[in-house]
């Protein structure tokens, strides 16, 4: 399939547009069917894409027939197609959950969801830095709109903060892009990677400022300290499917950091080699720290999951700072794992909150659940995965990250933080679990609604991923290692993508 690599962008885009048109726009049920079908298509095409990339190598897609570096090119390599498949899987599972009823409570949930996916996939696939900006904006604006889904004061306020911070971030993004274009004269990331190496002297200094501004922007998306403040409230206030979908959002920032600071400003960048590391390193560690503290302080599951997202971001950023193939491989595995696990937890938190009456998902004594066994099982699985305890995928990612630290200084900092972070999560989860499931008064609330079948199916899909990631951990890690070595190999990740590039 010649056009395979653009499917992950076009499918959600077309489905989103069609859902704005009659007759589908008039009826929620047909929108639901369209959404599920759309995400299923997306899942299939993403899987085929990954398979194709794995068997045939990188898929380049020159939009409009204009070859890079002049036109915009999509680059489906192992890294991006993995992320796209992850997004598709997440989207499908979350959509199953959403169509059970959470999509009500506001207009346009389905088209917005589709556009959000489109933005995320676009950001993963694009090989052009300005196009990356555009897709960032697509996913951001869709996320703004989804955040306010189903209304409420907290949502409004959290959205306000999120929107304005990101507007500032977008401005910085453009400043950074302007500087990079003004020094490199090109926008294609592969072309930039090649040209960066030739920069010297003051032009290089200028380019560095631009690169660092981009780091701030990506750091903001990835919730890097001190720019993580927006995350807990934003995620905790979002409607469950939205929060679950947001689990991938910080990963977009992390992914961009990997793309930009390993390919563009990696080993080969001459004077600008590894410019992000001195900043990423301390900030990543501090992010893990504040995330772990946040985990410890969390009063409710949603906040807990949000803080876990921060911890995972910090861990991924630490991998980016280590800047080695092993670290990147670890990050890729961990990214897949933590995205799905935290998404599942957001959904479970929602089901729980709906069954506990006023107590919602807070760690206080309350009425018992309507479906204690089901929820307990789901909760336990997601908790184990997120804490990083065997037999679920968290431990693999954790060990990979630990193993990726190379110098003893790195080990000295990363290991205690990651392990203590796990301990904080373990303690909080055990406190949470025992309180939520065993500290009861009264009987199950009459108005509490049990989880619907589709909701369970969505959660189950997400949870199932975790053991699968362990069982097929060997294949999975082989894949991430290949993907990582591709990313770190400038000849593969830059020179090969430019038909006319001088070697």
């Amino acid at each position: 399939m010649q056009h395979l690599s653009i499917f992950p962008i076009l499918i959600p885009l077309l489905f989103g547009a069609i859902m704005l048109l009659p007759p589908i726009s008039r009826d929620i049920n047909s929108q639901r069917i369209a959404s599920v079908v759309g995400t299923l298509f997306l899942l299939i095409s993403s899987a085929v894409l990954l398979y194709t990339v794995n068997s045939e190598g990188v898929q380049l897609y020159a939009l409009g027939g204009w070859q890079a570096p002049f036109g915009i090119a999509l680059v489906a390599d192992k890294v991006s197609s993995l992320m796209v498949l992850l997004t598709a899987f997440l989207a499908f599972a979350v959509m199953l959950y959403a169509v059970a009823g959470q999509d009500k409570g506001g207009a346009y949930f389905h088209p917005l969801f589709m556009f959000q996916i489109m933005g995320i996939n676009g950001a993963f696939l694009t090989g052009d830095i300005f196009n990356l900006f555009v897709f960032f904006e697509v996913l951001l604006i869709a996320s703004y709109a989804l955040l306010i889904h189903a209304g409420g004061k907290q949502k409004t306020q959290a959205t306000m903060h999120y929107v304005i911070l990101n507007l500032v971030g977008s401005s910085l993004f453009l400043f950074g892009l302007g500087i990079l274009y003004g020094t490199l004269g090109t926008l294609n990331m592969a072309d930039m990677a090649i040209k960066v190496g030739q920069l010297e002297g003051e032009t290089a200094t200028l380019a560095k400022t631009g690169a660092l501004l981009l780091l701030v922007v990506f750091g903001l998306k990835a919730a890097m300290l001190p720019m993580h403040f927006w995350l807990p409230k934003t995620y905790a206030s979002a409607t469950a499917p939205v929060a679950a979908l947001f689990a991938i959002m910080t990963k977009v920032g992390v992914y961009s950091i990997f793309r930009v600071y390993t390919v563009l400003f990696g080993e080969h960048a001459g004077e600008l080699a590894n410019i992000a590391t001195p900043w990423l390193w301390p900030l990543a560690l501090l992010t893990i720290t504040i995330g772990a503290i946040g985990v410890f302080a969390s009063p409710s599951i949603k906040t807990l999951s949000a803080n876990l997202v921060i911890v995972s971001s910090g861990s991924l950023l630490a991998c980016a700072a280590i800047n080695s193939e092993e670290a990147t491989s670890a990050a890729l595995y961990y990214m897949v794992h933590s995205t799905l696990a935290s998404a599942a937890l957001f959904l479970i938190a929602d089901i729980m909150a709906r069954q506990r009456g006023k107590a919602e998902d807070r760690f206080v004594r309350s009425r018992p659940f309507v479906q204690p066994k089901l929820l307990g099982f789901a909760f336990a699985i997601s908790a184990l995965a997120l804490v990083g305890m065997p037999p679920l995928s968290g431990f693999v990612g954790k060990i990979m990250i630990l193993q990726a630290t190379q110098s003893s200084t790195q080990t000295m900092w990363v290991w205690p933080l990651i392990l203590l972070g796990s301990l904080a999560a373990l303690i909080t989860f055990s406190r949470a679990g025992t309180t939520l499931f065993w500290r009861h008064n009264g009987t199950a609330a009459a108005e509490a609604e049990p989880a619907k079948k589709l909701e369970i199916a969505g959660v189950a899909l997400l949870l199932l991923a975790s053991p699968v990631l362990v069982i097929f951990g060997g294949d999975m890690t082989t894949f991430t290692q290949q993907a990582a070595s591709y990313l770190h190999d400038i000849h593969a990740s830059a020179y090969q993508l430019l038909p006319g590039a001088a070697q």
């Binding site: 409009g64 506001g106 697509v138 780091l215 193993q403 303690i427 025992t434 951990g473």
Partner: protein
């Protein structure tokens, strides 16, 4: 049913026993996740066999026992599931031949034990006890992981066999102390070694079968197993000896001491377990091969007598309703058979001859005597060991005397009686074993012990004799002292109890919870300090970080100006710059008078457009102008619903701080901007200039870039616009706004809703504006213009109608569904891109050609125009969806709810 699986497994394991006794070792490995060193690797050697037999054998007995122990309300299925899970995990630990896999199962034991301890989760004790156990063992597990990873990295392999074979390498490595400490942390926490011992008594909130199984025979032994397993790799150094044996000694004494003062039967047993675990640890720490043998032997013995004692305690609890030794008295009368069994087991615990406990304790005493690692202080160890023995005898005696004799029961909830037949069977078997081992040691466990010891030492086991009688020697003397001293101590226990009562008792549970709560509070304080909910602070952080990052690298810029010649200044530009700067500053100064700020902002926008025009960007000028107007209209709309003035609320200090940051960033950005502009640049843009006409079919290069070279950006851009409109619609749909009845001066609004002149003129302007927008649209490809600007012009023209005539008037006259416009706009743009697929080109490949028609002449058709039409429709649809819906907010008729609820 449940028992079938363990029984089968036990059978399988035992079927290999013969070979193992011959010194064989079974190993099997399948690769799993090589990236983390994990492979599916199992080994069955003497040590593994010993533990497997313990786990499966006692497991079977516990399954049988639990069948009678649990009440009808308890879900026995759940219990068995957890138990099987635990059994599986334990087997995994002992059979692992890979470090990571070992840890994998190690953590599984923590999890399954958490589930078992909290089986009665409705009880506070159970929840807290389980949490504590999980926290301690979990923390230890993490330390263990770190230790194993370093160990594996040091050896270069995660295969257990490789590790065991590289003892010298490990001990020579600089990492050795770290490895030892981390691995031992894992072991000590699991085996409840001092100072981590406190979780074990609190884990007694679990059902008794769990205690019997986990907290005597198996889980707590996992830590011991770990030390035994890594014995060849890590032991036999001074560091090992110091840490392990001293910890073991301390645990041995502390456990024994505390056990004596427990009133709860299970509490006594738990602390006695701690003490015995300490004993084994002490043995493992000593570093001699014989000590290791003694340790292994005691593992077997402790498992048998302690499991039976727990079961007996469970029977007592079950049949009398209490475990409090102050209530329980004289049960001999009610359950003599059980009492007998318990007495035998206790005797073993106390180390009475003819019992298995005696044998291993003798070996223990022997080893303490041969210990010289503490130099001249080595005599301490046998003395303290004997003291521990005294306490052991004392609490064993208490267990028997205080429960089965010592008067009549007090206020028992139930009248005690013998348990059901089959509930006793497991106890009988275990007690029988105690005796059998005690009397015929080498016959019963000789082979097993020998194989296990060999496996532990990763070599041949030393020579030892498993005899009941070794003649009169020091160990025997120590045993005698312990027995007599223990009985004496028990007899005079009231003094001791009084002595103990002076000390304030502290419930470790409360302390632990208190510590956790303290940490949680601290954490909450930190979080609420950092995430204080102030957006301004968040923005400040982002900006401060970016300024620190950029400024730090900008410092290295020696000269700001580059080589590129600058354009000379002219009066016009200076005037415009003055206008721009003054207006911008005025906007800042007057930002609290909102309407005025809006006016000055408009000036800024106007000048920016002029600047674009001046510097050869007519398209930008046009776009900026039209966007500017729509933005201002939007802001005016917003002004009505927002307060019209801003109160003054920033403190001078904050103003200065913000001014500082703002000017710093402004300075940085200005500097970079200047530095960039004055340096030459080699760009890819010549390609666009060369291919615009030939490849894109248009002379307006910017537009060709927008709809062709980088049409994908534009597709994204209109999607953003469309999404924004949808989002805004969502925002508006549930908005309930304040509508001021007067302006900020308190003046009532004018009554003239639609000024006549404005209304009439607007109607005339509309067709003209549409024509202009058609013009701009059509010429866009070749001249400044295009779908976006055309769309905005159309929108502004329609908005003008709204302003002049109001929503109601428009509603009756115009039937446009803006949502459909957005959808079809995005759809058309996408489809125009998909069209190229038909011709085998990539998405958004453009097509254009020149045609000739009579009369009309030559004209161009291009797919880019279809794309641009999509842009146009989206822009109009989005802008109008926003503004028209916003306008409807104040009309008497609320917006039609398109919600799906």
């Amino acid at each position: 049913m449940t028992a079938a699986l363990p029984a089968l497994t036990l059978f399988l394991v035992l079927s290999h026993a013969g070979d193992i006794f011959q010194g064989e070792r079974f190993q099997a490995a399948v690769p799993w996740i090589p990236a983390i060193g994990l492979e599916l690797a199992f080994r069955l050697d003497g040590l593994a066999l010993l533990f497997a037999i313990l786990i499966l054998g006692i497991g079977l007995l516990v399954i049988l026992y639990a069948r009678y122990y649990l009440s009808a309300q308890d879900s026995i299925g759940k219990f068995y599931a957890y138990l099987m899970l635990f059994m599986f995990a334990m087997l995994g630990v002992v059979l692992s031949d890979n470090l990571i896999q070992l840890w994998f199962f190690w953590e599984l034991t923590s999890i399954s034990s958490f589930l078992l301890i909290s089986f009665w989760g409705h009880k506070t004790d159970a929840r807290k006890g389980a949490r504590m156990a999980l926290t301690i063992t979990g923390a230890g597990g993490l330390a263990l992981l770190a230790g194993l990873l370093i160990l594996g990295n040091t050896v270069g392999s995660f295969s257990l066999q490789d590790v065991l074979d590289s003892g010298d390498l490990i001990k020579a490595s600089a990492n050795y102390p770290i490895i030892v400490v981390l691995v031992l942390l894992g072991a000590f926490t699991k085996s409840a070694q001092f100072p981590f011992h406190f979780w074990l008594p609190n884990a007694m909130a679990a059902p008794t079968p769990v205690s019997a199984y986990l907290h005597s025979a198996t889980m707590v032994k996992a830590g011991i197993f770990l030390m035994a397993r890594f014995y060849p790799a890590l032991a036999n150094t001074d560091l090992w000896f110091l840490i392990v044996s001293l910890t073991g000694l301390a645990t041995f004494l502390v456990g024994a001491y505390i056990a004596l003062f427990q009133h709860d039967l299970k509490g006594l047993l738990a602390n006695s377990t701690i003490s015995h675990l300490g004993l084994i640890t002490l043995l493992l720490g000593m570093g001699t091969d014989l000590a290791a043998v003694a340790a292994i032997f005691h593992i077997i013995n402790h498992a048998t007598f302690k499991a039976s004692l727990f079961m007996a305690a469970g029977i007592i609890d079950h049949e009398s309703g209490s475990r409090d030794m102050r209530q329980l008295n004289g049960l001999w009368k009610y359950m003599p058979y059980t009492a007998t069994l318990a007495m035998v087991a206790s005797a073993s615990m106390a180390g009475v001859p003819l019992m298995n406990g005696f044998l291993s304790k003798e070996m223990f005493f022997t080893e303490t005597l041969h210990q010289a690692s503490l130099g001249s202080l080595s005599w301490f160890i046998p003395v303290l060991a004997t003291l521990g023995g005294v306490f052991a005898v004392a609490y064993s005696t208490r267990f028997i005397h205080d429960v089965f004799f010592n008067g009549e029961p007090i206020n028992l909830p139930k009248t005690p009686h013998e348990p059901p037949r089959y509930m006793r069977v497991p106890v009988e078997i275990l007690v029988g074993l105690c005796l059998l081992v005690g009397i015929f040691p080498s016959l019963v466990v000789g082979d097993l012990l020998f194989a296990a010891a060999g496996a532990t030492l990763n070599g041949p086991a030393p020579t030892y004799s498993l005899a009941i009688w070794h003649g009169f020697n020091f160990p025997l003397l120590m045993s005698v002292i312990a027995l007599i001293g223990g009985l004496y101590m028990y007899h005079n226990r009231s003094h001791l109890f009084k002595f103990q009562a002076q000390f304030p008792t502290s419930d470790p549970k409360m302390v632990f919870e208190g510590v956790i709560q303290y940490l949680v509070n601290k954490a909450s304080r930190i979080i609420s300090m950092t995430e204080n909910g102030s957006l301004q602070r968040y923005i400040f952080c982002v900006l401060a970080l970016s300024v620190v990052m950029t400024a730090s690298s900008l410092m290295k810029l020696n000269t700001t100006a580059g080589q590129r010649p600058e354009i000379p200044l002219d009066a016009l530009s200076i005037t415009c710059a003055i206008l721009l700067c003054i207006s911008a500053l005025a906007t800042v100064i007057w930002h609290r008078r909102r309407v005025v700020a809006l006016l000055t902002l408009s000036v800024v926008g106007l000048i920016v457009s002029l600047a674009f025009a001046q510097f050869s960007a007519p398209d930008l000028a046009l776009t900026q102008l039209s966007v500017e107007v729509v933005t201002v209209i939007l802001l005016i709309l917003a002004l009505f619903f927002l307060p019209q003035k801003t109160p003054k609320e920033s403190s001078p200090r904050r103003v200065v701080r913000d001014l500082g940051l703002a000017s710093l960033i402004g300075g940085v950005i200005g500097t970079i901007c200047y530095a960039l502009m004055t340096r030459p640049l080699d760009t890819i843009s010549t390609f666009f200039t060369e291919n615009s006409k030939t490849g894109g079919g248009g002379t307006n290069i910017v537009n060709v870039i927008l709809v062709d070279f980088r049409g994908f950006d534009t597709l994204g851009e209109i999607t953003v616009l469309g999404i924004a409109a949808l989002g805004i619609y969502k925002l508006i749909a549930r908005m309930r706004l304040y509508m001021p009845s007067s302006d900020d001066n308190g003046l009532a609004w004018s009554e003239d809703r639609h000024p006549i002149l404005l209304a009439v003129i607007s109607q005339s302007l509309l067709p003209l504006a549409l024509l202009v927008s058609a013009y701009i649209f059509l010429r866009g490809h070749n001249m400044p213009g295009g779908g976006f600007i055309a769309g905005l012009i159309t929108s502004v023209a329609i908005i003008q109608q709204y302003v002049a005539h109001g929503v109601e008037w428009i509603k009756t006259r115009i039937k446009l569904d803006y949502q459909i416009m957005i959808g079809s706009g995005i759809g058309i743009a996408t489809l125009s891109g998909l069209g190229s697929w038909v011709f085998g080109h990539t998405f958004l490949s453009s097509w254009f050609d020149y045609f000739y028609l009579p009369v009309i002449g030559k004209f161009e058709l291009a797919s880019a125009m279809v794309f641009d039409l999509g842009v146009y429709l989206t822009v109009v649809g989005a802008t109008m969806l926003i503004l028209a819906n916003l306008g409807q907010l104040t009309t008497s008729e609320r917006p039609i709810q398109k919600e799906h609820d």
